[in-house]
């Protein structure tokens, strides 16, 4: 919940930053790139043992569009996926935007800039691209494991090594693809890598981004060390219902209960059919 609020705030902030000095060209580029990312996630790459990976694209977007526009574009993709493919769903929308959007775009961009933001096809460009992609994936996986650990869905001792280790391997693909695409662009359309059309990351943005990433991580770290639930979460969720009150926690169902549930299920079906036929007759067509 606190992540939802945070993601919403960061999207609003990014939208304000981008809209200032926005050109129509940028609008079309962002729109088309969000479609590009959405679709390129359909291109699977077989890794091993039947699993497959695909480009996530956060680092790539951060490098090409700059962090703010990149975050917006990534957020669009994630929202669209939640809406239409129901992939990951609205349940974790805020967390997803934070992990795959904010963290991966920002770290991808930061790593690329720290490595000198090379533009020419040489040895440094693929290297910078690779590390940007790899670190962005690993960091968002770690953030995800931290969140899962804090919300007590998956214990931290299991989640952190599992997510971190797995994504350290998966991230190699992301890094390689990011590097490959950057190299290809540097050869074919070098003008796209010169980010004179993308809004630069001003000092205020660096600070804002750092605060954005540091605050939740700080809260998470504090909460993790003190074995308390996420304070913001607790604040927003209010008093938690205790398990003993809920019937679901009674894991043994009696026979009559099962019958009752079956009857209720049938009732739902009947309601569906009734509503359907009722409004079909009354419909204008």
């Amino acid at each position: 919940m606190s992540l939802d609020a945070l993601s919403g705030a960061s999207i609003l902030y990014a939208a304000r930053r981008v809209e200032r000095g926005l050109s129509g060209r940028m609008i079309s580029i962002m729109g088309v790139l969000s479609a590009f990312i959405f679709v390129s996630q359909m291109l699977n790459f077989p890794i091993f043992g039947g699993t497959s990976g695909h480009l996530v694209g956060g680092a790539l977007l951060g490098i090409l569009l700059g962090p703010m526009a990149g975050l917006l574009t990534m957020a669009t993709v994630i929202i669209a996926q939640a809406l239409f493919l129901q992939d990951g769903g609205l349940v974790a929308l805020g967390a997803n935007v934070f992990n795959m959007g904010a963290i991966s775009v920002f770290t991808g961009y930061a790593v690329y800039r720290l490595l000198g933001a090379p533009e020419k096809p040489g040895r440094r460009l693929p290297l910078a691209g690779f590390f940007a992609g790899w670190i962005s994936v690993v960091l968002s996986a770690i953030a995800c494991a931290l969140e899962l650990g804090i919300s007590a869905a998956v214990p931290l001792s299991i989640g952190l090594p599992a997510m971190g280790g797995y994504h350290a391997v998966i991230g190699v693909v992301e890094g390689a693809l990011t590097a490959g695409v950057l190299l290809f662009l540097a050869r074919v359309r070098p003008d796209l890598l010169r980010r004179d059309f993308a809004p630069r990351f001003a000092l205020a943005d660096w600070i804002g981004g750092l605060v954005l990433v540091a605050i939740p991580l700080g809260i998470l770290a504090l909460a993790g060390s003190s074995k308390l639930p996420d304070p913001l979460e607790a604040l927003l969720a209010g008093p938690r219902a205790d398990h003993s009150g809920s019937l679901l926690s009674a894991s043994r169902f009696t026979e009559s209960e099962v019958l009752l549930y079956l009857a209720l299920l049938v009732l739902c079906g009947a309601a569906y059919l009734a509503a359907r036929t009722l409004w079909k007759r009354r419909g204008p067509s």
Partner: protein, 237 residues
């Protein structure tokens, strides 16, 4: 190629379809938030929600196999989360069951929302509700060009698959995919430039023009009040 995996039934005509997009956005979001906030709901609450969703689905005239099919497509993700259940002790399975029910309910509501509202209207509703202009513009571009790009990707994939025999090494595979993505990216930049020219020549002023929105009618009022009453009733159930 035809793609209709997103909002196949959004063009039907039912009492749900004619509601204002804002009404549906607010109403369905309120339902989802309520569902997410009942962490340890009683079976009665869950059934009440399923009952409501069933009625809404019936009213919307969306075929049942479609709705149920989408719900089943989600299950693997939830089952993945369920892997954590054994670590949660004796409460684990009830926790997982509640998670599963909540996920399915939210999914059904989303299917209803996207399949009863045309995308243009959804977009206008989001804008009217204060969603940032740039985000809405992005969403609308994504929706419009998704299919173009999906076609392109499928063609490229077909071309790749028809030019290779068996499996290549990991590095060659990566290199191929890298240039495919790169090509796609160059094409998307070029398409963006074309679109920009087209937008300029049609007098783009930073806002997408939209036809007159539907008026807030008694139907919207009825829908909102039913949803509000329902939520109030179930929370106290």
């Amino acid at each position: 190629m035809r793609h209709s995996f997103i909002d196949r039934y959004a063009n039907l005509d039912s009492p749900l379809h004619v509601l204002d997009a804002r009404t549906k956005l607010v109403g369905f979001t309120a339902l989802i938030v309520t569902i997410l906030s009942i962490r340890n709901g009683s079976p009665g609450q869950f059934f009440a929600f399923f009952f409501l969703v069933a009625i809404l689905a019936g009213i919307s005239q969306i075929p049942m196999h479609y709705v149920v099919g989408r719900a089943i497509a989600l299950l693997p993700f939830v089952l993945l989360a369920g892997l954590a259940a054994p670590w949660k002790g004796s409460e684990g399975w009830s926790w997982f069951l509640a998670l599963l029910l909540r996920a399915v309910l939210c999914l059904l509501i989303l299917v209803l929302l996207t399949n009863t509202t045309r995308f243009v209207e959804l977009q206008r509703g989001l804008r009217k509700l204060g969603c940032p202009r740039i985000l809405v513009a992005n969403l609308s571009f994504l929706y419009r060009y998704l299919f173009v790009f999906a076609d392109e990707v499928m063609r490229m994939r077909q071309a790749r698959d028809s030019r290779r025999v068996g499996r290549l090494g990991a590095l060659a595979e990566l290199r191929t995919l890298g240039s495919m993505l790169g090509t796609l990216m160059v094409r998307s930049f070029e398409r963006a430039d074309c679109m920009h020219q087209a937008m300029l020549s049609r007098g783009f002023q930073g806002e997408f023009p939209a036809a007159a929105p539907r008026k807030f009618s008694w139907r919207d009022l009825a829908f909102i009040s039913v949803v509000a009453l329902f939520i109030a009733a179930t929370v106290h159930l």
